[in-house]
Amino acid sequence: MRRLHGLRLSDLTRPRILVTTFLLLFVLLVLPQLMSLYYVDTMTQVAVYSMVALGLGVLVGRVGLVSLGQAAVLAIGAWVAARLLFATSQPYLLVLLEAGLATMAVGIIIGLPALRLRGLYLALITLMLAGGITVVLATVNFPNGGHGFLGYDGSLLHIPPIRRPSFAASDPAYFRFAVIIAIAMFGLVLAHIKTRPGRAWAAIRQSEPAALAAGINTWLYKLWAFALASFITGVAGGVLAGAIHYLYSINFPTQDSITLLAVVLMGGAYSLWGAVVAGLLYQFLPSLLNNWGVSADWLTILFGIGVLQVLTTAPAGLADQVPRDLARLGRRLRRGSNKKAATTAPAPERVP
């Protein structure tokens, strides 16, 4: 039986749902108690960047579009959220929604012309756009409580922090808030995958001419993917703004988009768990190494090796590879048994 792109549609086994639910409850309720504040802050970042990786994973893994500009999209979401949080006293959830929608609008505006390009050209044009946005941000800066459209006052002696929701002011509470928002975003993507967009994306991924011939409006669904990825990343930007309280343009350099692609590939662009792995790689590992006094350069090297490894040997990334390796190990351990191991279909051929 063919497994359809990393997600069993026909039989979502009950153990999997149970494990996932248990894990989520553990993360929400128990984890903040166990961790020091240092790691609570780190895991909040993991939640934020899991969402960013989720958006990029939809593009890269589901539709086969490589975007080298997600850090810039995140910056836009954070900018909009910060501006609204300073300028208005709207509830935080509303600000998140607005940030997501604004970023989605930008994503659509960019996607409209950009989607005429394919493959390498599309990746490079997203890199160019990200580079441009980065320069603009360096000049206009992030809002810091000033007035005017840009909301930036360069001469402030005390920069006010970006506010958090009243119900999630402390670090552990904000961590839970971030995780809940992340769960909502993952749910949003899951809903897409299991319905028509998901099937259309799978078809486009497999072969765009064939999908066209089958009557699928490929351009519309690709734009939809762009819009969804931008929305999720915009919301992530809003969560980021409240998490770190202070936004600086130097925190969103163009090379971050490149590293993001690397961790998404390593974590696995197909499965949703891959996005979580990517978030952990991108934020938890550096934090751990920093605590141990190990230079972050080793991680950069690791990410480079990871990209090469993924592209040459494990196209579906760690999230797919590790369970498969474990399953293979389990099969070897049960060598004498008569039970037939679940056949796994080979990973999809067209790999970004």
Binding site: L124, L129, G131, G132, T254, S295, I301, G304, L308, L311
Partner: protein, 297 residues
């Protein structure tokens, strides 16, 4: 708008900057035409070579030896990468091959910061003997190094265009970049041609790295990610025409510097390569969908 006299010196510096972009841009397109790979690690490899040259210079090695070492290191790393990953990725999409070079870039970037650590008040710089000689245009001195960079761009463009079209090895390279399997069945010694292509790649990155380290900055981050700005010219030429890449690079450099005296736009001038690339690409593709197919190489 400032008076014309204010723009004059920026024409000279703009052409110099254009020379810088042309060196990287032409290098990238040349490599793409010869190997089918958009070698995004071009800057990182060059930086590695330049830093090696710097280290040797600090150890009092003669100038020519340091330059040779720079080119050798760049060539060795590129050949190593090409031998290990070239065949494995040969059948894949150009996008995959380009992303793989991103992997190499990250490895080199991390390695460079580990080996040549950033420390407090130190600043590394690489100077070439041609820095001390030059000529004056208007009130600006143009160093011989800048002339060499521009000339190198021209020579590279012309020589590679000729090489790829008229020599046997060049034709073999183009064929391999197009379709490796068919070329192999035609009896072309695929591995040897591939090795030659990668070796040439590497040497090119080394030479460019040396010049760029002198003209821009001897800094791993700057040199590694200079590639991104150079991609503008590459994209406008749609990875095909080397002459177009060269011309586009000059235009980008000129425009970037000519915006400097315009007060309202001056802070945004670093956007120039990106805006031009975006406009150029979207204008060029407005009538058809652009697909990176093998025939397009």
């Amino acid at each position: 708008m400032p008076p014309w006299a204010d723009f004059e010196p920026f024409i000279v510096s703009g052409l110099a900057l254009g020379g810088v972009y042309a060196l990287s841009g032409v290098g990238l397109v040349v490599l793409y035409r010869a190997t089918g790979v958009l070698y995004l690690a071009f800057g990182a490899v060059g930086a590695l070579g330049a830093l090696t040259a710097w280290s040797l210079a600090q150890a009092s090695a003669p100038g020519w030896l340091t330059w040779l070492a720079c080119i050798a290191v760049a060539a060795a790393v590129t050949l190593g990468y090409g031998s290990l990953f070239g065949p494995a990725l040969a059948k894949r999409d150009p996008l995959v091959k380009a992303v793989a070079t991103i992997g190499l870039t990250l490895i080199l970037y991390g390695l460079m910061d580990l080996l040549w650590t950033t420390s407090g008040g130190q600043a590394r710089s690489l100077t070439l003997p041609t820095d001390n000689s030059g000529f004056t245009i208007g009130q600006i001195t143009v160093t011989d190094t800048q002339v060499i960079a521009l000339a190198a761009g021209v020579v590279l463009t012309a020589a590679t265009a000729a090489f790829l079209r008229f020599t046997q090895l060049g034709t073999a390279m183009r064929a391999m970049a197009n379709d490796r399997e068919i070329t192999a069945t035609l009896g072309v010694p695929v591995r040897r041609v591939e090795a030659a292509a990668w070796l040439g790649c590497g040497a090119l990155s080394g030479i460019a790295g040396l010049l760029l380290a002198d003209l821009v900055a001897l800094d791993a981050t700057t040199l590694t990610f200079l590639v991104i700005s150079s991609l503008a010219a590459v994209l406008i030429a749609r990875l095909r025409s080397i002459w177009l890449t060269f011309a586009a690079a000059l235009v980008v450099g000129l425009l970037h510097d000519l915006l400097t005296p315009v007060v309202s736009l001056s802070n945004y001038r670093d956007m120039t390569p990106f805006v031009i690339a975006a406009i150029g690409l979207l204008v060029l593709s407005r009538h058809r969908v652009m697909v990176q197919s093998r025939e397009g190489a």
